[in-house]
Symmetry: C2
Subunit: 399 residues, 2 copies
């Protein structure tokens, strides 16, 4: 850190991040660090910018998908293949604390901005890499992204109904799990640097980051392959809990599960089925899972006689975890979405609208950041690069 933060400073105040990230994983890592107090300069190719920014209709502005995770970052466009821009980039590296990259394997080396090269220039630099597979995997040199790692990790194979084909998970879980783990690694490395004074290489792979989400499935296969299932639809991935399903109400769908005995007893009392509550063979998850079809029928007979809002109120009152199934459009319009600082509307200087996410990480000592505008490609080129030229005539720092 370049100065002593005030008592109100966020934990990453004074930390300078160079975000060379593309699409979701790298840029989301930088987004999380920014909301923890870091200053982020997003470095992209001149012309059309990184692939997510470039994916726009002719004549349109930066896509909303780009806006959502790039608010508040300065934008510098540099052609790293030109000598002059490469030199300017190395000057930025000298005063940076963190660099984030999720290029294809080999790209950073071919651009002359690999870890070894930059570490020699700035030993305090924390160099954060997100690749499809880790460096010690036989797949290390393969290109991959959210879609393909969903295939290679087993994620797709467990998604969908038992009588249907495997299917991609709708959310981009792989990219965002990768970016979040990377932000954790960077922050841990900053903590270490505060003691040692040295940076290091933080490395996360998309494949590694998504494997723990398959805990239920791995557990089933490792426990007994003969009783494990590939796809379980809306049921528990290990078929170890019941009720655990999505049930029809008279106006929609609700998800309900019980994982503990108080929840199960509360449900039985609400449904006036004291016989089930007092049945010793149903007193554990294991026992209930053996009678899953019967329990699903009992729950479903009750939910069909209620509307979703009433059913949720009654179930929550009985201590049973549950929720209405909502569409993305319903979530966008929901008052509960507007009440929390996650999906933010920004009016830009030129009067146009943009949307950015807040951060899921909330700290009691700090208010969430106000909504942050999205920089156009190269918007801060002059400001950042001229500061660089003036500081190179001044003092050196970063050691």
């Amino acid at each position: 850190m370049t100065s002593e933060p005030s008592s109100a400073a966020r934990p990453l105040h004074g930390i300078n991040v160079l975000d060379l990230g593309q699409v979701y994983g790298g840029p989301y890592c930088a987004h999380l660090l920014l909301h923890l107090g870091a200053s982020v300069i997003k470095v992209e190719s001149p012309g059309r910018g990184e692939p997510l920014r470039a994916n726009r209709a002719a004549g349109a502005g930066d896509p909303v998908g780009f806006q959502l995770i790039n608010g508040g970052k300065s934008s510098v466009a540099l052609d790293l293949k030109s000598k002059e821009s490469h030199d300017e980039f190395l000057a930025l590296v000298r005063s940076a604390d963190v660099l984030i990259e999720n290029f294809a394997p080999g790209t950073a080396l071919s651009l002359g901005i690999d870890y070894e090269t930059l570490h020699a220039i700035n030993p305090r630099l924390i160099y954060a890499t997100l690749k499809a597979y880790s460096a010690d995997s036989p797949n290390a040199q393969l290109r991959g992204m959210d879609l393909t790692v969903q295939a290679s990790s087993g994620v797709m194979s467990v998604n969908g109904f038992p009588d249907g084909p495997p299917v991609r998970c709708g959310p981009s879980l792989v990219d965002f799990l990768g970016g979040t783990h990377l932000a954790l690694g960077v922050t841990a490395a900053l903590l270490e640097r505060s003691i040692t004074g040295r940076g290091q290489h933080v490395d996360v792979s998309l494949q590694d980051a998504v494997l723990p989400t398959l805990t239920s499935n791995f557990a089933a296969w490792l426990t007994n392959p003969d009783s494990a299932f590939e796809r379980t639809g809306n049921r528990h991935g290990g078929m170890r809990e019941s009720p655990y399903n999505v049930y029809a109400t008279n106006d929609g769908w609700i998800a309900i599960l019980c994982i503990s005995e108080p929840q199960w007893r509360g449900l039985c009392e609400l449904l006036d089925r004291l016989d089930l509550r007092d049945d010793p063979t149903l007193a554990t998850n294991h026992g209930r899972a053996l009678r899953m079809l019967e329990i699903d029928d009992v729950v479903s007979d009750w939910t069909r006689r209620h509307d979703s809002v009433s059913a949720i109120a009654l179930l929550q009152g009985a201590g049973v975890p549950c929720a209405q199934l909502k569409t993305v459009l319903q979530v966008v319009d929901d008052e509960s979405t507007r009440a929390v600082p996650m999906l933010r509307h920004v009016v830009n200087d030129d009067g146009t609208d943009s949307y950015t996410f807040g951060s899921p990480v909330r700290l009691s000592e700090h208010e969430p950041l106000e909504p942050l505008a999205v920089s156009t490609l190269g918007e801060q080129n002059e400001q950042v690069l001229s500061a660089l030229h003036s500081s190179s005539r001044g003092s050196h720092d970063g050691r």
Copy 2:
């Protein structure tokens, strides 16, 4: 930190974590901190332990799902509703750096271990909370878990085929995204504490943590609701990229996508379709997405004439991201899984087997931890609690 770490110390060396987590989100947060160097004491109810440990068949040991994310933690069983155990717990809090809890709303307060109470006892404590919804949401008091937040967040609504119903995502993405964001918040708060000397409350909600994974879907609805889609099967959530799909080979399935022009040109050259490569209307993602059906046919005609392994080699050679679709059992058995320290086999002291995950966060200054044994419920009760009694006769710390 209680002592000056050596130069080889991991970033969270000397940090004492109390893991009151249940099932996946809280315990995975503690798992990540442990692999960054923290010492973790897992505190559970006596008898059957937390719900994930309790979910075992009669006579069986701790379930594999529990093992996977609880290796290396000490286990202390304490009934927090008893005065004596509650006092012992408060003594543990006095020397703790981090507490993690993902109880139902209101439970921590009713147990007398809420943030305000524990902060008064130990102002350096970082108190980490994971709930279904954040404290400022109108849903703050609702109980929820992975399944139900998949429903409330819109995740289910975008998962599945356009002509089928919404379906739960197979992986427990919500719990693991929650736990990973929480570990990031804790580590950032430790960094802040290293300057201010004070702890704080770190708060993450499952709903907030999963929303960014719907970036493609939010973007589509916010850009133009008239052209947005609910479920897109194996296609891009915003229908903005092509090729982006799962394609049949002559022996299985492979996922393929192109997000940049070099990838698209490489694909066209591999498929000997220079006409498509040189077609200016196909030179951008936007243009290709408009001719998605045609492009899917072209790619699919080619993949059907190849086996999966050959197709992957050819496509990767052309710079196109792709991967084979694998089942969980194939991933368990795959040499690429055994080559990286993520899914680890442990032989316990009593000769039984267990399995634990490593950490996706890799740091160049530290080797991954060796596989870590799983403690039985209360295994360290005597060791931890007797140390407590002897230290209470000695000096005080933590201020």
